[in-house]
C-alpha cells in the first residue's frame, strides 16, 4: 500500500472514531430560551420575585435591621465595624451590608420586570394572569419604594435586560421613580384580591397594594390622595381590625393576625445557608433579632434604645393610671419583674447596662438569647411590613396635613390609642398640635419597626434631630452629616462598573 494513502486513511479513521460532541449544554439548569411558556412558568417566575424578601441580605437581616431599624433616632447602635456602620454613620460605598440590601431589592425589580414582560404573552387562565401581574407590580413598586428612600438616586429599569448596554444608564429623577411606583401600585390595587388562600398568605393583596399606594402618595405630600387610599382600608372593618393585645403584633404566635395588612413570612431554617435568593436552602428566618437584642444576648454589636423614647412612654399613663402597655412590648428597662429573655433583667445586667434601655419589640423570649437555639435562621416571628395601626396613623396624618384635623382623623388616632388603654388625645387641636400628636403616637406605636428613618426622611427633620441630639449616637460617638447620611452610598461596584452613575452626596 502507498504509505501516503495509508497515513491519510489512518488519520481519517482516528478522527471519525470520535463521536463526542463539543456542543454541550448545561444539564443542571433550565435555559432562558425554554422558559416563560406556561402558566407554571409564570407562577415560578413570580415566586422568584418574592425570594429576596426574607433572605439574610433582605429583611432576614440586612434590610430588616442594619439598613433600617439601626438608622433611626429611636435606637443607639454600638460600634461594630463592617456591620453596624450604616447606623453609626460610618458606612462607605464598599460597605458589604449596603451592597447586600441593594442587591436583593434590585433582584426583586429585575425578576418582576421579567414577569411583567413575559407573562402577558403566556396563554393561561386570565384571572390568574391578572393577579400574577398584580403581584409583580406590587413587588416592583415595593422594591423601588425602598430603593428610592434608602439610596435617593437610583436607575429606573422596567424591562428585562436584553443586552449589557441596557444596564449602563443614568440615574432617574426621583419624580420618575415615584411615578413608576404609584403606577405599579395602582395596577396592583386594581388586579389583586382582598384575600388569598391560607396557603398563599404572604402574597400581595388588594390591601397591601392600597396601603403602599397611600404611603407613596403620603411621601409625595399628596395628602388628599393618600387619605383617600387609606380610607379604603379603614372602611373595611371586616377585612382588617386592631388586635386586642398590642404585643401580639410582635410575637410568632400572632403571625398573620387581623391587624396585619401585609407581612413577610419567615420560615424557621436553622440549617439554612447564608446567601442571597438563588442560594440553595437559604436562611429564611428572622435573623435580625441579633442586631437589636440587648448586649449579652447577642453575638452582634446591636443597639440600645434612646432614653427619649422611654421618656415619651412615661409622659402619659393609661386611662387606669398605668404605664402604656406598649412600653413593655417595645423596650426593656429596669422595672420590677423586667425580663431579658429568660433571665431577670436586674440580676444579669450590671453597671451602665442596668440603667440603659434595650429593645424588646420582636424579640423571642422563648429563646435563651438572640442566637440560642438555632442561631440566624431559627425564629419565624414574621415582620409586619404594613399593619392597620400604621395605616390609621398615616390616615390621620394625611387628613391633618390636607385640611387640619377632622372627626375621621381623631377617630383614627384614638382607635390606635384606645387599643393600648390610652385616653383620647385632647379635642380641638390645631393642625400643628395634631401633627405633633400623630408624630408622637407613631413613636409610641411604631418605634423599632424600621419605619422611623423613613418618617424622619419624609418629615425632613433627620439632620436637625441628630444635630440637636448627639446623645442619640452616644454609643458610637457618630456624627450625622447633613446632606449625606439621609441616604446610603451607592455601592462601589456599581459606581465603578457604570461611570454614568453619580455617587450620593458626601460619599
Amino acid at each position: 500500500m502507498n504509505p501516503v494513502s495509508l497515513f491519510m486513511i489512518l488519520v481519517l479513521v482516528m478522527v471519525n472514531c470520535n463521536k463526542k460532541d463539543l456542543d454541550l449544554t448545561n444539564p443542571n439548569n433550565l435555559s432562558v430560551q425554554s422558559f416563560w411558556k406556561t402558566a407554571d412558568d409564570a407562577e415560578k417566575g413570580l415566586v422568584a420575585c418574592y425570594g429576596p424578601l426574607t433572605t439574610i441580605q433582605g429583611w432576614g437581616r440586612m434590610l430588616g435591621a442594619l439598613l433600617t431599624i439601626q438608622r433611626g433616632d429611636d435606637v443607639n447602635p454600638f460600634p461594630f465595624p463592617a456591620v453596624n456602620d450604616p447606623g453609626t454613620f460610618s458606612t462607605v460605598s464598599s460597605d458589604g451590608r449596603v451592597n447586600e440590601g441593594w442587591t436583593e431589592l434590585n433582584a426583586i425589580v429585575a425578576r418582576a420586570n421579567s414577569v411583567l414582560f413575559y407573562v402577558p404573552d403566556i396563554s393561561m387562565d386570565d384571572t390568574r394572569k391578572k393577579q400574577i401581574l398584580g403581584e409583580a407590580s406590587f413587588l416592583r413598586a415595593l422594591a423601588h419604594f425602598y430603593l428610592l428612600n434608602m439610596w435617593g438616586n437610583i436607575p429606573l429599569i422596567t424591562k428585562p435586560i436584553e443586552s449589557l448596554d441596557d444596564l449602563f444608564i443614568e440615574q432617574a429623577p426621583q419624580a420618575d421613580v415615584w411615578a413608576s411606583i404609584i403606577n405599579d401600585a395602582k395596577n396592583a390595587q386594581a388586579a389583586l384580591p382582598e384575600t388569598v388562600d391560607p396557603k398563599d398568605i404572604g402574597r400581595a393583596t388588594w390591601g397591601a397594594a392600597t396601603a403602599l399606594l397611600g404611603k407613596a402618595l403620603l411621601f409625595n405630600k399628596d395628602w388628599t390622595g393618600a387619605a383617600a387610599e387609606f380610607k379604603k382600608i379603614v372602611d373595611k372593618p371586616n377585612l382588617y381590625k386592631l388586635v386586642t393585645n398590642y404585643q401580639d403584633n410582635f410575637l410568632a404566635s400572632g403571625n398573620n393576625n387581623s391587624e396585619s395588612v401585609w407581612e413577610l413570612q419567615y420560615q424557621s431554617t436553622p440549617n439554612g445557608n447564608w446567601g442571597t435568593s438563588g442560594t440553595a436552602n437559604p436562611l429564611r428566618g428572622q435573623g435580625w433579632e441579633s442586631d437589636v437584642a440587648p448586649v449579652g444576648y447577642t453575638s452582634q454589636g446591636s443597639v440600645s434604645v434612646n432614653k427619649w423614647v422611654y421618656d415619651l412612654f412615661m409622659k402619659q399613663k393609661t386611662k387606669d393610671g398605668k404605664i402604656d402597655p406598649r412600653a413593655y412590648a417595645t423596650i426593656i428597662w429596669n422595672y420590677p419583674g423586667a425580663k431579658v429573655y429568660q433571665d431577670d433583667f436586674a440580676k444579669v445586667m450590671t453597671g451602665a447596662n442596668l440603667n440603659n434601655f434595650w429593645v424588646r419589640k420582636y424579640l423571642n423570649f422563648d429563646r435563651e438569647s438572640a442566637s440560642v437555639p438555632g442561631s440566624w435562621g431559627y425564629p419565624n416571628n414574621n415582620r409586619r411590613m404594613i399593619r392597620l395601626a400604621d395605616v390609621l396613623l398615616m390616615y390621620a396624618e394625611a387628613i391633618n396635613e390636607a385640611s387640619g384635623p377632622n372627626a375621621q382623623a381623631y377617630a383614627a388616632i384614638n382607635a390606635v390609642r384606645a387599643r393600648a388603654g390610652m385616653p383620647d388625645i385632647p379635642a380641638g387641636l390645631g393642625q400643628a398640635a395634631f401633627r405633633t400628636a400623630v408624630r408622637d403616637e407613631r413613636v409610641l406605636e411604631l418605634s423599632l419597626e424600621g419605619d422611623r428613618v423613613f418618617d424622619l426622611l419624609r418629615w425632613g427633620n433627620m439632620a436637625a434631630t441628630f444635630k440637636a441630639h448627639p446623645e442619640y449616637r452616644s454609643n458610637s460617638g457618630a456624627v450625622f452629616v447633613e446632606g449625606k447620611h439621609e441616604y446610603l452610598p451607592i455601592p462601589v461596584n456599581d459606581i465603578g462598573a457604570n461611570p454614568k452613575l453619580k455617587q450620593n452626596n458626601g460619599y
Binding site: 504509505p3 501516503v4 497515513f7 491519510m8 488519520v11 482516528m14 478522527v15 470520535n18 463526542k20 460532541d21 463539543l22 456542543d23 454541550l24 449544554t25 448545561n26 444539564p27 443542571n28 439548569n29 433550565l30 435555559s31 432562558v32 422558559f35 417566575g45 413570580l46 415566586v47 422568584a48 425570594g51 426574607t54 460600634p79 465595624p81 458589604g96 434590585n106 425589580v109 429585575a110 421579567s114 429599569i157 449589557l164 444596564l167 391560607p198 396557603k199 398563599d200 404572604g202 413570612q265 440549617n271 445557608n273 435568593s277 438563588g278 440553595a280 448586649v295 449579652g296 453575638s299 450590671t350 435563651e368 438569647s369 442566637s371 437555639p373 442561631s375 455601592p491 461596584n493 462598573a497
Partner: protein, 1015 residues
C-alpha cells in the same frame, strides 16, 4: 453525531501548511522502507574495574527505541536487521557506542565520566535524548524523591527543579501543595497539567513515590506545546516503573517515624488574659465582664495549644514485585501510608496498588499501567479558628451536652467564645477518595520507522465526604452549640476517558535526522455529584441519613461534562546532532466555549538548538566540555475554567416561603458571557546547557519571558441589573519573566576512591506582574483573613498577583490631640497612626527560590542532604490580628507591652475591644518577612556488605535514619513560614490568598527510621 475534523483542521493557513507538511513527511518517508524481522540482543553492563551497573540507558542509534539495565546490569532489547549500533549511556559514565555487527550477546564496560547528555528524557508523546532537546525540560529521578515523606506526592518536587515552585501549606496530613511552574499567569487555576504514563489528569497527589521512575516538567512553549490547550501552566510528566527482564525482584521498604511541631507559640495564661480583657473594658468605658473580674476562677487555666498540638506517628510500607521474560515484563507494587497529624484529631491514610506491564509480540507492543488508590483524610478544620479558645474556659464540663466546657460571651467579656478543641473532637469529618487511573497502549510498527500507537486511558474516581456533628452545647455563643445532630454527605463520581492515536516516524538521511509525530486525541469527562443532609438523630451513635428524623435538608446534585478534541503534530530535526530544530502544532476544540464560534484554537511553537561544542572550532579538552544553546517561542492555551460558563441559565433556588409552605421559584440570577474564549500564553525561552571540567559540572540555565493574555477576569457590572455583580470576560494580561538555573556536580573518582558524591542546586527567580486588567476591571480584592471581611491582598496593574495591600503603620499617637490634628477625631492616645491612603505592603512571591541537595556514599554508607529555601517574600500573619488586636481569642505576650499612658515607647496600640480608631484594619502590622532556609531532609543509610547478603540470600539491604524539617532559619514569628495558599475552609483560599497565614497548621519535624530490602 457531529464530527469536527473540518473545524479541527481549519488551522490558519501558514500553520496548516506546516501541519500538512508534517503529515506528508511522515507518510512520504514511510514508503522508503520495507519491513524486516526483529530479534533480541541481550547483555550485561559493568563499571570499568567495578560492579554491575543498573539503570544504564541502551538505545538503538538513530532511533528512539531503547531500554535500561536491570539490578544486575542486564538488558534485553529488540533490534531490527537494519539497526547497526547500540548506544550505552548512564549518568556519570562515558557514553559508549557498540556496533551490533550480528552479535546477540554483549558485555560492556562503561568508563566513569559524567556525561548526562545522552540520557533519554521523556517528552510529550515520546522521548528524546537530552542532548537533542531544544525546549526547557527539567527532570528528576524517582530515587531522589523518596527521602522526603509526604502524603501528597507533588510536594516531593519542592526545591528539586529550577522554575518549579512548590508551596506546602503547613503539614496538615494529605494537604495538596500548590505547584506553580514559571509563575502564575492566570486569575483562575494556575496548577499544571499532569500526565501519568500517558494518561492526562489534574493531580499527582495519589501517586506512590516509590513507583516513580522519573518526573519531567515541560516548562517552555516548545516542550509543552504538544499539550497545547492545557499547557499554559506547564506540564508534569510522571513515568512509573516498569519491570525488567530477569529474575523476579521483590523489594520491601518500611519507614516509621515520629512528627513533632516545628514550633509552638507563646500565649497568655488565664490571669494575664483576664487582666487584658479587663483593661479593654476599662479603656472602652464598659463594665468589666464578671468572668474576668469578680467571678474569675483561678482553678481554670487552659493551654489550648498544648492540648491541640503534639507528636504523631507516621508509617509507610511499600512492597513491590518486578521482573519478566523476553516478551513480558511487569511491575506490581502496593503501599500503605499512614500519617497522623500533629494537630489533634487529624489523620491521613493512603492505600496504593499499581500494576504495570509490557508485552511484545512481533510488531505489536502492548503496555498497560494501572493504579488504584484510596485516600482517607480526617482533617481538623477547627484548629486555629479565630474568636475561640480563651484560657479562662474549662476544657471539659460533664454537665453539658457533649461533655465539653464553654463560656457565655457576656460572662467572658467577648462576643464569641467557642471550644474549638471540643468541636474538633466531637465532629467526625472524613473525606474518602478512591481513584483508578490507568491506560493501555497498543503500538504497531506499520512500516520500517513508522509506528502507530493507540493509547486508551481512564481516570475514574469516587469522592465521598462525610461530616457528622452531634448535638452539643458549650455555651450560647454563636457556633458554640448545635441543637440537633447534623450529618452531611456528598458523593462525586467522575470518569474521564482519553483516546489517542499517534503516528511516529523516524528517519535519517546521512546526517539529517527526522522524527515526525502526528496524532489525534479525544478526552471526555463526566462528574456527577449527589449530596444529602439530615438532622435530628435519635442517638449520636446513629449517623446515617436513614436514621435521621429530618432528612429533607440540603439535598444537592450536579452533573458536569466536558469534551476536548485535538489534532497534533511535531517535527524534530537535527543535523549531525549539532543543529537542532523542533516545531509543534496543536489544534484543540473544547466544549467549554461557545460552539462553534470559540470552540477551536491553534497553538504553535518552535525551537532551535545549537550544540556549539560539536563544532570543529570548539576547543577540545577545555574547561567547557559541552555547550548547547537553545531558544524557543510559542503559544500555549488554557481552558482551566468551569463548564457551562457561556450560557445563561435560570436558578431554581429562588423559592419563597408562604404561610402554607415553600413554593418553587425560578429566576435569572447571573448573566453569562457567550464570548469567553481560550486564555493564551506566549513564551520566549533562551537557555544554555553547559558541562564543565570534563562533564563533572553540568549547568542548565534559562531565561524566560511569558506573557499570558486574554486572561479571564470578572468584570464588574452594575448589581442593579438584578443578576450578579460581575461577568467573566477575557481581559487581563500577566507577565512572568525570570531566570532559572540548575547546577550539578558529580564527584566519583573511580575505583580507588570509595567516596563518591554529587551536589545539585537549583535557583529560580521569577518576576510576576499584572500588565493590564482589561477595560473596566477594578483591582481584585482577596485574601479575606477574618470574619469581619478584612482583606489582605489586591491585584492591580504593575504589581504581582495578590500583592499585600493596606495602610502603613506610621507609629502610635502619644496624645489624643496629635490624632485630632491628624484629622482622626475618632482616634486617641495609644491608637495607631496610619498612612493617609492604602498602599502596597509587599509581595507574597519570593524574589528567589532555591534548593540544594547532596548525595554521597562511602563504602557501605550513604548520606543525603536536602536544603530548600525562599527569599524575599512577605507573609500576612493574620495570627497577629487574632492574637493581638482582635478580641475573641487568647493573646500573644506582645499585648503585655500595649500602649498605656505609663508605657508609651511601644509598637503595640492601646487595648480596646470597641476599637473606635479601627487599629485592626488591614495594615503593615500584619506583614512579616517570609524568607526561610530549611534542612528539608537528612538521611544516613547503611547497606549490608555483599558477604552478609549472600549468606542471608538477600539481594540488598539498607537501613537508614532520616530527619525532615529539623533545621529552619527564618525570622517569621508564626508557626511556620511554609504556609502556601490558605487552605482553610472558613476563609477565602487559592491564588488571591497566597501567603496569608490564617489558620495554617504548624509544620512537622519528622524523625524516621527505615529499611529497604530487595530479594
Amino acid at each position: 453525531m457531529k464530527i469536527h475534523i473540518n473545524r479541527l483542521l481549519h488551522i490558519p493557513k501558514p500553520m496548516r501548511n506546516i501541519f500538512i507538511f508534517i503529515l506528508l513527511l511522515t507518510a512520504g518517508f514511510g514508503s522508503a522502507f520495507g519491513s524486516g524481522a526483529a530479534r533480541d540482543v541481550r547483555g550485561q553492563v559493568k563499571e570499568r574495574n567495578g560492579g554491575v551497573l543498573p539503570g544504564v540507558s541502551i538505545v538503538v542509534k538513530g532511533t528512539q527505541r531503547g531500554t535500561v539495565t536491570n539490578e544486575k546490569g542486564e538488558f534485553t532489547l529488540d533490534v531490527q536487521p537494519q539497526d547497526s549500533v547500540l548506544v550505552f549511556s548512564f549518568v556519570g559514565y562515558q557514553t559508549l557506542e557498540e556496533p551490533i555487527a550480528g552479535r546477540s550477546q554483549f558485555s560492556v564496560e562503561l568508563a566513569v565520566e559524567d556525561r548526562s547528555l545522552n540520557e533519554i528524557v521523556v517528552v510529550g508523546y515520546g522521548s528524546q535524548k537530552k542532548a537533542d532537546i531544544t525546549g526547557a525540560v527539567s527532570s528528576v529521578k524517582g530515587s531522589e524523591l523518596k527521602a522526603v515523606s509526604a502524603g501528597d506526592a507533588s510536594s516531593l518536587l519542592q526545591g528539586r527543579m529550577a522554575g518549579v515552585v512548590v508551596q506546602n501549606g503547613g503539614s496538615a496530613p494529605g494537604q495538596a501543595p500548590a505547584v506553580v511552574i514559571r509563575g502564575t499567569g492566570t486569575f483562575g487555576n494556575d496548577q499544571p497539567l499532569y500526565v501519568i504514563d500517558g494518561m492526562i489528569t489534574n493531580s499527582m497527589g495519589f501517586v506512590n513515590p516509590n513507583d516513580v521512575e522519573s518526573i519531567e516538567v515541560l516548562k517552555d512553549a516548545s516542550a509543552a506545546a504538544i499539550y497545547g490547550s492545557r499547557a499554559a501552566n506547564g506540564v508534569v510528566l510522571i513515568t512509573t516503573k516498569s519491570g525488567t527482564s530477569g529474575d523476579i525482584k521483590i523489594s520491601l521498604n518500611v519507614k516509621a517515624g515520629i512528627q513533632t511541631p516545628t514550633k509552638k507559640l507563646k500565649f497568655l495564661n488565664a490571669r494575664q488574659y483576664a487582666n487584658w480583657n479587663n483593661l479593654a473594658h476599662d479603656n472602652d468605658g464598659l463594665p468589666r465582664a464578671p468572668g474576668n473580674d469578680a467571678q474569675f476562677n483561678p482553678a481554670i487555666d487552659t493551654d489550648w495549644q498544648d492540648l491541640s498540638l503534639g507528636s504523631a506517628p507516621l508509617t509507610d510500607y511499600n512492597l513491590s514485585l518486578s521482573g519478566g521474560g523476553k516478551n513480558a515484563k511487569f511491575f506490581i507494587s502496593g503501599q500503605y501510608f499512614d500519617q497522623k497529624g500533629i494537630v489533634v484529631d487529624s489523620r491521613f491514610k493512603r492505600y496504593n496498588l499499581r500494576a504495570n506491564s509490557t508485552f511484545t509480540k512481533g510488531k505489536f507492543k502492548f503496555t498497560e499501567s494501572l493504579s488504584a488508590s484510596r485516600s482517607v483524610n480526617n482533617p481538623n478544620t477547627y484548629f486555629g479558628r479565630e474568636t475561640g479558645e480563651l484560657p479562662t474556659m474549662p476544657v471539659y464540663d460533664a454537665s453539658k451536652k457533649g461533655g465539653f466546657g464553654g463560656l457565655e460571651p457576656a460572662f467572658a467579656g467577648v462576643s464569641r467564645v467557642v471550644n474549638w478543641y471540643g468541636a474538633a473532637k466531637l465532629n467526625d469529618n472524613l473525606n474518602t477518595n478512591d481513584q483508578i487511573l490507568g491506560n493501555i497502549g497498543l503500538e504497531y510498527e506499520l512500516l520500517k520507522g513508522l509506528k502507530y500507537k493507540m493509547n486508551v486511558g481512564l481516570d475514574y474516581g469516587v469522592n465521598h465526604s462525610y461530616n457528622f456533628t452531634p448535638a452539643f452545647f458549650f455555651s450560647g455563643s454563636i457556633e458554640a452549640f448545635n441543637d440537633a445532630a447534623d450529618l452531611s454527605e456528598n458523593i462525586i463520581r467522575n470518569l474521564t476517558t482519553l483516546i489517542e492515536h499517534t503516528l511516529t516516524y523516524n528517519k535519517s538521511f546521512g546526517d539529517h535526522n527526522f522524527e515526525l509525530l502526528a496524532g489525534y486525541t479525544s478526552q471526555t469527562g463526566t462528574a456527577r455529584s449527589l449530596g444529602a443532609g439530615a438532622t435530628d438523630f435519635p442517638s449520636d451513635g446513629l449517623s446515617v441519613v436513614n436514621a435521621a428524623l429530618n432528612r429533607n435538608v440540603n439535598t444537592t446534585g450536579d452533573l458536569q461534562e466536558f469534551a476536548l478534541q485535538s489534532v497534533l503534530g511535531r517535527l524534530n530535526y537535527n543535523y549531525k546532532s549539532k543543529y537542532l530544530l523542533s516545531a509543534t502544532i496543536r489544534r484543540d476544540g473544547s466544549s467549554k466555549f461557545l460552539y462553534p464560534k470559540n470552540t477551536f484554537a491553534t497553538f504553535p511553537s518552535f525551537s532551535l538548538g545549537w550544540r556549539v561544542s560539536e563544532e570543529a572550532f570548539f576547543p577540545k579538552g577545555a574547561v567547557v566540555s559541552d555547550l548547547k544553546l537553545r531558544g524557543s517561542y510559542g503559544t500555549l492555551g488554557s481552558q482551566n475554567i468551569s463548564n457551562y460558563l457561556t450560557s445563561s441559565v435560570l436558578n431554581v433556588n429562588t423559592d419563597y416561603y408562604f404561610a402554607g409552605g415553600v413554593q418553587p421559584g425560578i429566576g435569572l440570577t447571573n448573566f453569562s458571557n457567550p464570548d469567553i474564549k481560550w486564555e493564551s500564553t506566549k513564551t520566549t525561552d533562551f537557555g544554555a546547557d553547559v558541562s564543565l571540567l570534563n562533564n563533572a559540572i553540568n549547568i542548565t540555565a534559562d531565561y524566560f519571558n511569558k506573557k499570558s493574555f486574554d486572561i479571564l477576569a470578572n468584570i464588574p457590572i452594575p448589581i442593579y441589573g438584578g443578576a450578579g455583580s460581575t461577568i467573566t470576560k477575557n481581559a487581563a494580561t500577566i507577565n512572568n519573566r525570570g531566570f532559572e538555573m540548575a547546577v550539578t556536580y558529580n564527584h566519583s573518582a573511580g575505583a580507588k576512591d570509595d567516596f563518591k558524591y554529587s551536589l545539585t542546586g537549583s535557583f529560580t527567580s521569577i518576576r510576576n506582574r499584572v500588565i493590564s486588567l482589561g477595560d473596566g476591571v477594578t483591582p481584585i480584592t482577596g485574601g479575606g483573613f477574618t470574619q469581619q471581611s478584612l482583606t489582605a491582598t489586591r491585584t492591580d496593574v504593575g504589581q504581582p498577583v495578590g500583592c499585600f495591600w493596606g495602610y502603613e503603620v506610621l507609629g502610635i499617637y502619644q496624645t489624643t490631640q496629635e490624632a485630632i490634628d491628624d484629622g482622626r477625631p475618632e482616634a486617641r492616645a495609644g491608637d495607631f497612626k496610619f498612612s493617609k491612603n492604602q498602599t502596597w505592603l509587599g509581595s507574597p512571591f519570593p524574589k528567589f527560590n532555591y534548593g540544594l541537595s547532596g548525595n554521597g556514599s562511602w563504602k557501605n554508607f550513604d548520606i543525603s542532604l536536602f536544603f530548600q529555601g525562599v527569599s524575599g517574600n512577605k507573609i500576612w500573619n493574620a495570627k497577629r490580628f487574632q492574637h493581638i488586636l482582635d478580641y475573641g481569642s487568647n493573646k500573644f505576650p506582645d499585648v503585655l507591652r500595649s500602649w498605656t499612658p505609663q508605657n508609651t515607647n511601644t509598637d503595640i496600640p492601646r487595648v480596646s475591644q470597641n476599637d473606635p480608631a479601627n487599629n485592626k484594619r488591614s495594615s503593615s502590622f500584619y506583614v512579616e518577612d517570609g524568607s526561610y532556609l530549611r534542612l528539608k531532609n537528612i538521611t544516613i543509610g547503611y547497606s549490608l556488605p555483599q558477604s552478609v547478603l549472600d549468606n542471608a540470600k538477600i539481594a540488598s539491604a539498607r537501613f537508614y535514619i532520616s530527619a525532615q524539617n529539623i533545621l529552619t532559619f527564618t525570622k517569621y514569628s508564626g508557626y511556620d513560614p511554609e504556609i502556601g495558599r490558605n487552605s482553610s475552609t472558613a476563609y477565602q483560599s487559592g491564588l488571591f490568598s497566597n501567603g496569608v497565614d490564617i489558620q495554617a497548621y504548624p509544620n512537622a519535624k519528622l524523625v524516621s527510621v527505615g529499611v529497604d530490602l530487595t530479594f
